[in-house]
Amino acid sequence: MLKINNLQAEIEGKSILKGIDLEVKPGEVHAIMGPNGSGKSTLSSVIAGREEYEVTGGNIDFEGEDLLDLGADERAHKGIFLSFQYPVEIPGVTVTNFIKTAINETRKARGQETMPANVMLKMMREKMSLLEIDNAFLSRSLNEGFSGGEKKRNEIFQMAMLEPKLAILDETDSGLDIDALRIVANGVNKLKSKNNAVIVITHYQRLLEHIVPDYVHVLYKGKIVKSGTKDLALELEAKGYDWLKEGVEA
């Protein structure tokens, strides 16, 4: 599904990703861990198509197509979804209006009819109950005045509505209390299938107790320095990152 080969990227002349290789197959859950500044968020931004980053080498293949040729909106149309670490507040655009526009623009791009209002409403209700979201939520301005937990829940709600093939969850656990974490993780797990895949980017093992990864990768200084199974996450939790750093810097 996703094949990243020797990906290098920089921002404002500063090299951040220094040759990433990663392959994700349908049905898999990958976790990317690593200390602050290792390039985790850069990787997710580059996959989603943020323009501030300049890709200086390598490529990203998604279902046989080079993603780097596509704009962020076109990548979304292909089925890529990024759950933002810091979702943007947009006063004046309601959650409903936003989701309706996103779904219908995506359908338009895929050559499909727009979704009838009643079908969309039914779907919204379903997904809202899955994520234990209140009805009043829909008419609020997008992320404006939302608590940290509400923002993250809103991201997963959008993911549930857009039904992506590949979801990247960037630090979705930050700012969540344990109940909210459980609800969000439960939502993600219910949306999982053998046809889609998830990349979980996180600092801590905590989220991975709920969303269990098939593979764990450690990113450090712009490179994946170690890959393993979910046991690697436990090892990191116990030992920290220093033992890996030494290996790289030596």
Binding site: A48, F81, F84, V88, G92, T94, N97, F98, A102
Partner: protein
């Protein structure tokens, strides 16, 4: 400019001759006095403090016809798009300055929705009491309008009446051969505890330059409620100078919205005079313009007495070479304690060539007041753009959605759903997207 001034001078003599006996009356005396002020002062120039950001010269160089002919008809189907349509309304339609009874829907049942000329001939006491009593004497363009004031809308809502449906006033210009100067004159009197909503627009069907120099006087008597909306979306060769003055009396609530999308040039002089205590005034504006369009808003909230509230919100989006002006004056006189006066002007410039001159002007001579103002000039938020695009919304639509979100609180006082819908559609059209903003 001088040529047009000369032409106005000779035209004024023609007008006086046509009036016969009426020329000796007090009403015409007010016209004459206004005209003398115009002759002495001339057209505004960039040397005038109030006109320093906009140049009228290119607008006034045309050889405008002052008196249009009363020989044209227009099919309803031609002007249908300019009406609200989704809702039943009273209609006052003027073709080239002449009232069209065929296209209008008026009434005298319990209130007067009719013409200015009708008011002059039938209700002389009204003319005596209100004509040329609200517009500031120092405004030259308003003075020219007063001098030639003969036709337009007259709306008088009697004490205690709530009008059952909105009133639409539309001025159409049709002449394809000559350049036209149109000078409609409106008078609105909302009596004690009465209520009405009014829409006004000026529409040129001509390919020739049209200058509309319109003036409206509004009197909101005690405890009355008025919503007045101006849709300014005229042809690309049309210019508009609008002088509107509102006098408010105790307990009245007036909301005036100005929505500007079209025209070559627009100047709005909007004055609120708060004559008695406990009034509430709202001024809202949304401007979305591009190409070489100019929209210049000059507003005044004149707090003469204590305990009045005024709130002003103007939003502007300027693309290509468009030029915006916002000059918002709030005057709080020494006796006007406990005044609440708020003003906000927010702008987005979409290109390097678009520009905005914004000047909040607060003159506060009382000490126990709450006044605030703010103005911003910005660009689109890139982070928000990426957020929307990452959800599959293409760049053009994402931009439109953010711009709409930026502008839409300018619609906060639009109480007619059909008008809201029309304005939403208009904003989408102006932003070149096929999006339904409101859900």
């Amino acid at each position: 400019m001088e040529a047009l001034k000369d032409k106005l001078e000779s035209s004024f003599l023609v007008l006086e001759n046509e009036l016969n006996g009426e020329a000796e009356g007090e009403i015409h005396g007010r016209r004459r006095e206004a005209f003398k002020r115009f002759v002495d002062k001339g057209f505004p120039t960039k040397r005038d403090e109030e006109w320093k950001y906009t140049n009228l010269k290119p607008i006034l160089k045309h050889d405008y016809r002052i008196f249009a002919k009363d020989d044209r008809t227009v099919d309803f189907s031609t002007i249908k798009p300019f009406f609200l349509n989704d809702v039943d309304t009273y209609k006052l339609v003027f073709i080239d300055g002449y009232y069209s009874s065929w296209l209008s829907e008026t009434t005298h049942q319990g209130f007067d929705i009719c013409t200015f000329s009708n008011m002059l001939s039938k209700y002389q006491d009204v003319a005596q009491q209100y004509f040329a009593k609200a517009l500031p004497k120092e405004e030259s363009m308003a003075a020219v309008n007063t001098a030639f004031a003969r036709e337009g809308a007259f709306i008088r809502i009697k004490k205690g009446v709530t009008v059952d449906k909105p009133v639409e006033i539309i001025f159409i210009t049709t002449d394809q051969k000559v350049e036209t100067l149109a000078q409609p004159r409106n008078l609105v009197v909302v009596e004690e505890n009465a209520e009405v909503s009014i829409l006004e627009r000026h529409q040129s069907l001509s390919a020739k330059p049209v200058l509309t120099n319109t003036a409206t006087e509004i009197f909101a008597l005690r405890d009355s409620r008025l919503n007045y909306y101006k849709i300014q979306n005229d042809a690309k060769n049309a210019s508009l100078i609008d002088s509107t003055s509102v006098k408010q009396y105790r307990g009245s609530n007036v909301s005036l919205g100005t929505f500007s999308f079209g025209n070559k040039f627009i100047r709005n002089n909007l004055n609120f005079f708060l004559e008695e205590e406990h009034t509430e005034s709202h001024m809202d504006g949304i401007t979305v313009i591009d190409k070489d369009q100019t929209v210049d808003h000059h507003t005044l909230a004149d707090h003469k007495v204590p305990h009045c509230y005024s709130d002003e919100l103007y939003k502007g989006i300027y693309d290509e070479n468009a030029h915006g002006v916002f000059n918002g004056k709030v005057m709080v006189h020494p006796h006007a304690q406990k005044t609440n006066a708020f003003q906000q002007n927010n702008n987005i410039l979409l290109t390097d060539k678009a520009s905005i001159d914004t000047k909040p002007q607060l003159e506060i001579f009382a000490d126990d007041v709450q006044c605030s103002h703010g103005c911003t000039i910005g660009q689109l938020d890139e982070e928000a753009m990426f957020y929307l695009q990452s959800r599959g919304i293409p760049e053009k639509e994402a931009k439109a959605l953010l711009l709409y979100a930026f502008a839409n609180d300018g619609l906060r006082n639009v109480k007619i759903p059909a008008l809201r819908k029309k304005l939403n559609r208009q904003i989408a059209k102006k932003l070149n997207v096929n999006l339904d903003f409101e859900l």
